[in-house]
C-alpha cells in the first residue's frame, strides 16, 4: 500500500496570528479592552481605573459571570435556558424559606437548595431531550412557572413578597452557620472590598474552561451542540450531556441566589427575573454561536466583564443609568457583528 503523503499546495499553513484570531473569544477580548479604555476616559470620578473601581465593576460582573459561563457552556451544547434568571430568585427563596419558616440550619438549607436546583435543571434537560421541543420553549415555560411559584409560595408562607431575617431568628439570636456561610458566599476581602463572588467567578471560569477544552465531557459538549446526530452515531451520550448542562446552569443560578441571600439577608420574590437575557448577551458577546457547537467559557466571562464595566462605568461617567440598556443593546450588536467578521476572515470554515 502507498504511504506517500499527498501535500495539497492550495492550502497555506496557518500562521500563529491566525491561530490566535481563531479563538472564539478574541472579538470579545478586544471589545473589552475598548470598553475599558472608553470608560476610563469618560470617567468623571477618577475611580474607574483604580482598584476601588475595579472592585465595583467586578462585583457586578461576577454575579453575571458565574451564570454566564454556565449559559455559555449550555449554548455550546446547542440549548438555551431562559429560566436561569428566575432560578436566582427561586433558589434564594427556597433557602430563605427553609431557614426562616422551617428552622433548617443554614448549611443544610444551602445544600438542599443545590439539590433543588439540580432537580429543576434535570427537569429542564429531561423535558428538552424527551419531548424534542426547542429548549427556548421548555425553559420559557419553566421561567413562567417558577415566577408564579416564587410569588405564590412566598405569599402563602410569609404573607409578604419577600423572605427576611435569614441572619437572625425572631429572638434576635444569630442563626447557627450563618456567619460561616456569609464568609464563604458574601464576605469582602482586601481594603478595596473585593467580593467573594469574584473568587467564585474566577474559579468557576477556570474549571469550566478546563472541562471544556481538556476533558472527554468537554469534547461531548462541542459535539452535541455542533451536530447531535453525528455525536450520537459515534457513541456520545447526547441526552446525558445535555441534561448535565441544564443542571449546571440551574446550580450556578442557585449559587448566585445563595450569594444574594447571604449579602442581603433577605430575598424578594421577583429577584433575578429579566436577568436571563443578560447571561445570554454575555455568552453571545463572548463569541458563542446561537446555533451551538462553538464558543468558550472564558468568552462568557469576558462578556460578563463588559456588562459589569458598562453598568459601573456609566454611573462613574455620571450619565443617567437609564442609558445602560441602550449601551447593552449596541454592545451586543457590535460584538456579534465583529465576531462574525473575524470568524469569516480567519476561520475559513465552510458551514
Amino acid at each position: 500500500m502507498s504511504t506517500t503523503t499527498a501535500v495539497d499546495d492550495r492550502v497555506a499553513t496557518t500562521s500563529s496570528l491566525t491561530r490566535i484570531m481563531r479563538r472564539p473569544e478574541i472579538g470579545a477580548f478586544m471589545g473589552a479592552l475598548v470598553v475599558y479604555i472608553f470608560f476610563a476616559v469618560v470617567d468623571q470620578t477618577g475611580t474607574f481605573f483604580s482598584l476601588d473601581g475595579t472592585a465595583r465593576w467586578t462585583d457586578v460582573a461576577s454575579t453575571y459571570g458565574i451564570i454566564a459561563v454556565a449559559v455559555a457552556m449550555l449554548m455550546i451544547g446547542g440549548e438555551f435556558d431562559l429560566s436561569s434568571g428566575v432560578m436566582i430568585g427561586s433558589s434564594g427563596l427556597f433557602a430563605g424559606l427553609l431557614i426562616t419558616e422551617y428552622n433548617v440550619g443554614v448549611w443544610p438549607a444551602i445544600l438542599l437548595t443545590f439539590v433543588f436546583a439540580a432537580g429543576i435543571g434535570f427537569t429542564n434537560g429531561w423535558l428538552v431531550v424527551t419531548t424534542g421541543l426547542p429548549s427556548f420553549i421548555v425553559t420559557l415555560a419553566m421561567f413562567f412557572s417558577l415566577r408564579g411559584i416564587n410569588l405564590g409560595v412566598t405569599k402563602v408562607l410569609t404573607d409578604t413578597v419577600r423572605v427576611a431575617g435569614v441572619d437572625e431568628g425572631p429572638d434576635g439570636e444569630m442563626r447557627p452557620g450563618f456567619e460561616s456561610a456569609e464568609t464563604v458566599f458574601a464576605s469582602t476581602f482586601t481594603q478595596y472590598n473585593f467580593r467573594m463572588a469574584v473568587v467564585w467567578w474566577i474559579v468557576l471560569t477556570i474549571i469550566a474552561t478546563l472541562v471544556l477544552t481538556r476533558t472527554k465531557f468537554g469534547n461531548w459538549i462541542f459535539a452535541v451542540g455542533g451536530d447531535s446526530n453525528a455525536a450520537r452515531n459515534v457513541g456520545v451520550p447526547v441526552r446525558r450531556t445535555k441534561i448535565m448542562l441544564f443542571m449546571y446552569v440551574s446550580m450556578s443560578s442557585a449559587l448566585v441566589g445563595i450569594i444574594s441571600l447571604m449579602r442581603l439577608k433577605s430575598m424578594q420574590a421577583g429577584q433575578g427575573v429579566t436577568q436571563e437575557f443578560i447571561f445570554i448577551i454575555a455568552a453571545v458577546v463572548g463569541g458563542c454561536l446561537l446555533t451551538g457547537g462553538y464558543g468558550s467559557a472564558i468568552g462568557g466571562t469576558i462578556g460578563a466583564a463588559i456588562i459589569g464595566m458598562a453598568f459601573i462605568g456609566i454611573a462613574y461617567a455620571q450619565w443617567n443609568t437609564d442609558w445602560t440598556w441602550l449601551f447593552l443593546g449596541l454592545i451586543l450588536f457590535a460584538a456579534v457583528f465583529t465576531n462574525s467578521l473575524i470568524r469569516r476572515r480567519f476561520q475559513g470554515a465552510r458551514r
Binding site: 500500500m1 502507498s2 504511504t3 506517500t4 503523503t5 499527498a6 501535500v7 495539497d8 492550502v11 499553513t13 496557518t14 491561530r19 478546563l210 481538556r214 476533558t215 472527554k216 468537554g218 469534547n219 461531548w220 462541542f222 459535539a223 455542533g226 451536530d227 446526530n229 453525528a230 455525536a231 450520537r232 452515531n233 459515534v234 457513541g235 456520545v236 454561536l289 457547537g293 462553538y294 476561520q347 475559513g348 470554515a349 465552510r350 458551514r351
Partner: protein, 265 residues
C-alpha cells in the same frame, strides 16, 4: 492482496432478512454474505432499500424476519452501540463529523484518550493530535493542522477522517453509506483508494453506492438491490463493468429509455 481462506466464516451474513414498517415492506427475503477482508458492494437506485439495509447491519433497526450472522454466530443488535461493540462501524454519508470541531477532536469523539484519575482525568491532547495526524498520513492525507475545524476539509478528506477513525478503533466490518455520492471525480478516487487500503489492512468493507463504476473499481462481490429485494449477485470474476452498469441501470429499461429519448446507442 490477501487470500481469503474458505474455512473462515463470513464477517457478516444475512439470511432471508426482511423488514416491514407497518404495512410497508422495505426489505424482503434478502440474503447476502460479507467475506473477510473483501469489499462487498451493495448497488441500488433510490428507494431500493439501501438505507434500510444499512440500518439493519449497523443495529439501528432490527429485522422483522430472517437472521443475521456475525463471524458465523447468529446475532441480533438492539442498538448501534451493540453493533459497534461487535466491531461493526458505519460511516454515514454526511452525519459522520461535526464541522465546527477540530479534526483531532472529531477523530477521537466518543473514544477520547484520557489520563489521570477522576476528577482530574484529562484528555491526552498532545498524543491525540499527533496520533490523529499519523493515522491520517497513513491514509495518504496530510492534515497540516489537527486544530483546524473539520468543516474546512474537503468532502473526500472528511470521509477519510471517518474511515480512518473507524479503522483506528478496531472495526472489523466497515459499512460505508454512499461515500462518493457527494464528491467530485478526483475526490471519489481518493475515497475509493481508502476503501481498498482498508480492505488490504484486514477490514471487511460493505460499500453501499448507486454508482456501478465506483463499485467495480474496488469491489470483490456485488449485490444488486431493487425494490426491497436482492435482484442479483456477482463476483468480480463473473461480471464485466458493462454488465454491471447495465444491470444497475435496469437493462431493458435503459434501452427503452434510449429509444424514447430518440438517442441512437
Amino acid at each position: 492482496m490477501t487470500e481469503v481462506s474458505t474455512n473462515k466464516p463470513a464477517a457478516l451474513a444475512l439470511e432471508n432478512v426482511g423488514k416491514r414498517f407497518g404495512s410497508v415492506i422495505a426489505l424482503q427475503d434478502v440474503s447476502m454474505v460479507v467475506p473477510q477482508n473483501q469489499v462487498t458492494c451493495v448497488l441500488g437506485d433510490n428507494g431500493a432499500g439501501k438505507s434500510t439495509l444499512i440500518k439493519i447491519l449497523s443495529g439501528v433497526h432490527t429485522p422483522t424476519e430472517g437472521q443475521m450472522y456475525v463471524n458465523g454466530e447468529p446475532t441480533t443488535f438492539n442498538s448501534p452501540r451493540e453493533a459497534l461493540d461487535n466491531g461493526i462501524a458505519t460511516v454515514y454519508q454526511d452525519l459522520a463529523t461535526v464541522p465546527l470541531m477540530a479534526v483531532w477532536r472529531n477523530f477521537y469523539l466518543g473514544n477520547e484518550p484520557t489520563k489521570g484519575f477522576w476528577p482530574f482525568r484529562g484528555l491526552r491532547t498532545k498524543y491525540a493530535k499527533e496520533s490523529c495526524k499519523g493515522e491520517m498520513a497513513q491514509m495518504g492525507i496530510d492534515i497540516r493542522d489537527p486544530e483546524q475545524p473539520v468543516g474546512t476539509l474537503s468532502g473526500g478528506e472528511r470521509q477519510a477522517v471517518s474511515i480512518a477513525r473507524a479503522i483506528h478503533f478496531g472495526a472489523n466490518v466497515l459499512i460505508l453509506d454512499e461515500p462518493t455520492s457527494a464528491l467530485g471525480v478526483k475526490q471519489s478516487g481518493v475515497v475509493l483508494k481508502h476503501i481498498r487500503t482498508a480492505a488490504e489492512s484486514g477490514v471487511s468493507v460493505v460499500f453501499i453506492t448507486h454508482n456501478p463504476h465506483h463499485a467495480y473499481l474496488v469491489g470483490d462481490n456485488f449485490y444488486l438491490l431493487n425494490r426491497g429485494r436482492m435482484l442479483a449477485e456477482y463476483t468480480k470474476d463473473t461480471v464485466s463493468r458493462e454488465e454491471l452498469v447495465k444491470a444497475m441501470a435496469g437493462g431493458a429499461e435503459l434501452d427503452a429509455l434510449a429509444h424514447e429519448l430518440g438517442a441512437d446507442t
